[in-house]
Every structure is written in structure tokens, then in C-alpha cells.
Symmetry: none
Subunit: 217 residues, 2 copies
């Protein structure tokens, strides 16, 4: 594959636009889409630059096919279109703090751990992150030690939903089922051998909601 070269501003602009268009529409843009999107006055300018970028290995064009543009990654392979990667930002268990939420560096020592999730999840929920589950406090909800839960950040929760709850006073995060009961909140582990936790409503902050559980086989 050809060596990477620095892109001209216009080419960078086109590249960005293609990526954005792909995200928004699911199919590649036409030359005229790019033209409009980048405020270029002629399709031939787009064609010209696409040709250069193809030569330099940034993308591939299937000729004779409408919307035949594919982006390539740094290895020259086509970019999986809906590739939804989610970062595992830490681990969570009853009573243990989550590093990412603790007062020290939020993003600093983040582990480099990424899981792929079903593309439709990201489409439906937007930004997501993941936590590795320690312990068996949610075993009755079919979440085991070592599983990875995918979390959608949100401040609110309906009763019965599985949430990441942040206890302000204790500075702890925990994975529980959420039940609002007056000015109290019951955090219910899904494990018949464990008791629920009752806390004042203003001491609880919902950090996110579980949207998916991943398990290795």
C-alpha cells in the first residue's frame, strides 16, 4: 500500500465529510453529496481529489458503481461501517469504587480495553462505556463475575432498571437495581443471598443504565 502523505486541507475536509456522512446515513456519499457538503463548486474537484486520495491509500472507489466509496484504515483494510467500539473504563462491584468516577484522574490511567458491541446499540443510545463486573452481586440478574456491562450514561432511572449508582457520601459506585421509595432509594442486588441497601435519595446519583451484558464463551 502506498505511503501515507499529509493531506491537503481540502482533502482532509472531504475525508471528514465522508466519515460523517457514513455515520449519519449508513451509505457512502455521492460525489455531489461531497460537493455540497464541502461547499465545492464542481463535481470534478471532488473527483480530482478523490482520485488523489485513492492513489495515496486513504480510500477505495469502486468504479461503475454508484456510491462506491469505501474508507480504508491505516492498514489498508476497509473500515467496518458500523464498528461500534466501547471502552472499558474500569470495574465495578458492590462496595468498590470505580476508578473512572473517583476523584482522582478521570481519564488518566484508563486501561486500554475495548470491546465491540452490537452496532444498533450505539445507534440507539449514543455514547456508551463499559465496566467489568467483579463479584456475583447481580447473579440473579444473570450477570456473573467477569462479565462486562455496557452502560448508557444517564441521570435518571425508572424503577427496576439496572443502574450504576454513585453514593456521594461514601464515594462509591455500585451496580444495582434501582427503586425509588419516597425520599429514599432502595438499591437491590439481584442475588438472593444479599440484602438491599437503603440510602437517602439525595445521596444517590445515577450514573448510567445497563443496556447490554457481554460474556465470554
Amino acid at each position: 500500500m502506498p505511503p501515507k502523505k499529509n493531506l491537503r486541507p481540502r482533502q482532509q475536509q472531504i475525508l471528514d465529510f465522508i466519515g460523517q456522512f457514513l455515520d449519519e446515513n449508513g451509505i457512502p456519499p455521492t460525489v455531489r453529496d461531497i460537493q455540497r457538503g464541502c461547499s465545492i463548486s464542481s463535481t470534478s474537484v471532488v473527483d480530482y481529489n478523490l482520485r488523489l486520495m485513492e492513489r495515496d491509500g486513504y480510500l477505495k472507489r469502486r468504479s461503475e458503481v454508484a456510491r462506491g466509496i469505501e474508507l480504508l484504515d491505516e492498514t489498508g483494510l476497509p473500515v467496518a461501517n458500523g464498528a461500534a467500539r466501547v471502552q472499558i473504563v474500569g470495574s465495578i462491584a458492590a462496595g468498590e469504587p470505580i476508578p473512572a468516577f473517583s476523584s482522582e484522574g478521570v481519564d488518566s490511567a484508563a486501561e486500554f480495553d475495548i470491546v465491540e458491541v452490537r452496532p444498533d446499540l450505539k445507534k440507539r443510545h449514543g455514547t456508551l462505556y463499559a465496566l467489568s463486573v467483579k463479584g456475583t452481586s447481580m447473579i440473579d440478574a444473570l450477570i456473573d463475575d467477569g462479565d462486562v456491562v455496557v452502560i448508557k450514561p444517564t441521570n435518571t432511572a425508572r424503577n427496576g432498571e439496572m443502574v450504576v449508582a454513585w453514593l456521594k457520601a461514601e464515594e462509591e459506585a455500585t451496580l444495582k437495581k434501582f427503586f425509588r421509595e419516597g425520599d429514599q432509594v432502595r438499591l437491590q442486588p439481584a442475588n438472593s443471598t444479599m440484602d438491599p441497601i437503603y440510602v437517602a435519595a439525595d445521596n444517590v446519583e445515577v450514573k448510567g443504565r445497563v443496556v447490554e451484558v457481554l460474556r465470554q464463551f
Copy 2:
């Protein structure tokens, strides 16, 4: 969302082709692609059926746009492009046959049900299919009624793996943990209230292995 209706054979054929084309090419097929792929003699037939399928909520067509076909999932949301789609070919439970494996038509009464899986799964395992789980026979393995298991077709299994086992004599398929014990095979439900099944090794055919469990939240 529009009500679900049974698809005509031709429409099922077209739907399958679109999915396959999407997998292979990353972009939706044109009317003429479908025409060729399904051996239809006229584009108008394709258009005719696409129109019906759009009316019935199986897909969406963006008019005025080339390759504007999008598949919709059962909730009416667009399926991410280039995503790994797996077809749910039937349901499975202890003691009940799986339609797709029974002696009658393998592909005939195929339901319109497709789930998305993590892209890396398909990359790692190749072709996959999915089954909807009925009953709680695998509850201790954290597989609940209504979950969907993703299966990798294979003839062999190691002890302890969760497999789809086909009992030749009974003509039944069942989801169990597999243990080879001499010339017998123990099929162990992961439910403490249920007993294992012992069958002769030559009466058991391993159809596939569970690689993923999907659950709605």
C-alpha cells in the same frame, strides 16, 4: 410500526439477498442487483415486491437516492450498515424440535427475524445463526427464557461446552452442556431442578456451539 405479515417466497428470497449483499459489499444492492441475484426477469418485479415489503415494515427505501434500501429490525429501526446480521432460524428448548433442523423444509417457514451481533464474532467464527430460547432449562448458565443464543455451526464439542444437540432417533434438538462419557453422552441442563439426559454417543449429533447470548434490557 406496521403489522408483521408472512412473506411470500419471492419476498423472503429478496430479503435474504439484500442481507447477504449487505454483508458482502457493505452497501445496499440496487434494484438490478436484486434482479440478477434472485433471477428475476424484470426490475419492475423487484420494485413491486420492495414496495410491498416497505409497506409491511420490513425495509425502508429512500427515494431519490441510489442504493437507498435499508433493512429494518423488528422494532422498525434501521439495521446498521455493514453490521453483522444473524438470522434467528427458530427456537429451541429441552425436548422441542427446531423447525430449521427438522426433516421438512429447511428454509420454508423461515421467520423474519434478524439480530445484530458484535462484528468481531462474525469475524472470528464465520457464519453464524441464532436461536430463540424457550424455557428456563439453562437458567443456571445465565440463559433465560426469551434470550437469543448465537450459534456457530460445528460437529464437535469439548466437554462442558454449551451445544445444540440433535437426537437422531427422537428427531429433537436441545440446548445443553455437552459431556462425553465413554460411549455415552451426558446432556446436562444448567438448571438445578432438571436432570441430565444420557444418550448413546451415536445417537447424538452436535449441531453447533453457543458463542454468545443476547438479552433485551
